[in-house]
Amino acid sequence: MKVYADNAATTRLRPEALRAYTETATEFFGNPSSLHSEGQRAKEVLEDCRARMAKALGALPREIVFTSGGSEADNQAILSAARAGAQKGKTRIVSTAIEHHAVLHALNRLKREGFTIDLLPVGTDGIVRAADAEKALGEDVCLCSVMLANNEIGTVQPVKEIAALCRARKIPFHTDAVQAVGHLNVDVNELGADYLALSAHKFGGPRGVGALYARTGAPLSPLVEGGAQERGKRAGTENLPAIAAMTVALEAALATRPETEAYVSALRDRLIDGLSRIPHCALNGDRTRRLAGNVSFCFEGIEGESLLLLLDDKGVSASSGSACTSGSLDPSHVLLAIGRVHDVAHGSLRLTLNEENTKEEVDYLLTVVPEVVETLRNMSPVWRDLTEGKRKFIL
């Protein structure tokens, strides 16, 4: 059996999105900046997509800038707000310890330029406390950036509360909603966000396309200089087929969102309950305040990469936050932030489901994951020490 359980990494393109892609690429191939009617027809499609994306988010069309994806949108929001803040002498940025690298690395760049970065901690539940944000939101803060849902452990953050604290202090607020859009109910006004980043390939759209919402009046500067596309905020001929496909994908996702959420979260709960029976393991992140499709565990005594390879042999696509899979020496910063020690964080497994997964697939996962964990434990000297009492169990 083949089970694709890595939908937080990327999703299969929805058929209706593929149709929109090919139709736009072949029927509306003109350059939206061209004066001729082919160009103007394309321009109409572009503006129609913008209006529909805006509607889906509760925004105004002119508040949507199409980008190459979530990373670019995050970078543009953060750098824009920081530059504007610096002009007013505000050089402190508040964010969280569990952000995606698209946010963290943009903040690192600003740090090198002299900004002060405060990363709020999270509890062992993987959730930021609004009270901690409140303490950090001083006079000199030019931006607060808190992700809506975490990509590794799926925890949903109190963005609405923190955005309200920012609003009261006139501090621009950005949210990386890449994992949330299409899955949670996301309305920029309900959230109270000034900036919001999204990416099409997390909800059945194509990769390499996304959008940045920037509230009217929020500072916005281009990352790339060039033509006057996107009202001068993002140079480069628009990737119209991808934009059209993203729009259709988001509408399709939202059309069935409540049913999908109920269906997927039932699969998730079945998977969590089943995997919890494996001895000496622990679920990462809060049990309920998490994305409908996210299942993340740490298994003591084994390492994540070998787990992924053996699962791959069984037809299962999954992911892990171990150092070996991140290409660095340290395991995932998110797992460390929720208090998992290195030894245990190396043994993490992330399975992310969506509407394409089935109960049969979950049952298959419930057979193969325990098998593979056992195989690896049986050859692990750490596991031997744990079971022989020479090392203390952490989980």
């Binding site: 005594g301 084994i302 390492e303 994540g304 990469e305 070998s306 390879l309 053996l310 791959d312 042999d313 171990s322 150092a323 070996c324 290409g327 020496l329 395991p331 020690v341 290195h342 030894d343 190396h346 050859m379 692990s380 000297p381 750490v382 596991w383 031997r384």
Partner: protein, 147 residues
């Protein structure tokens, strides 16, 4: 997956000599759980020959494959020959490792040396310290960064 060579995947999927030797003559453990790699080597020595070798590994696919390959390369060999096993030889026997995984082959080399060193110490056999530079990594290995 084409992350690893077929050889690596073969040794990872079907590790040779995995397990423990209860009455081992020497045991070596290298690496640490914090870094995500621990290798433990057990040896049985008879007339200066490695009559049996077993390993246990906590780590990634290439760590498991490297330990498996190392046990195959030294089993049945005289101790003196086992001591000349290099991480490079292990990696080559596996048809290469990605550059950032070369440290896994280093661990395998260290584990072999640590087990033999333990055997020498237990039996009060004099040994040439120079030969055990690797048992506790302090010198530069060929980590293959340029490859």
């Amino acid at each position: 997956m084409s992350l690893y060579s077929e050889k690596v995947m073969d040794h990872f999927r079907n590790p040779r000599n995995v397990g423990v030797i209860e009455d081992a003559d020497g045991v070596g453990e290298v690496g640490n759980a914090k870094c995500g790699d621990i290798m433990k080597m057990y040896i049985k020595v008879k007339d200066g020959i490695l009559a049996d070798v077993k390993f246990e590994t906590f780590g990634c696919g290439s760590a498991i494959a490297s330990s498996s390959m190392a046990t195959e390369m030294i089993k049945g060999k005289p101790l003196s020959e086992a001591l000349t096993l290099t991480n490079k030889a292990v990696a080559e026997a596996l048809d290469g490792l990605p550059a950032y995984k070369m440290h896994c082959s280093v661990l395998a080399e260290q584990a072999v040396q640590a087990a033999i060193l333990d055997y020498y110490k237990r039996n009060n056999i004099p040994y040439d310290e120079e030969k055990f530079r690797c048992a506790s990594c302090s010198h530069e290995h060929d980590h293959g960064e340029e490859e």
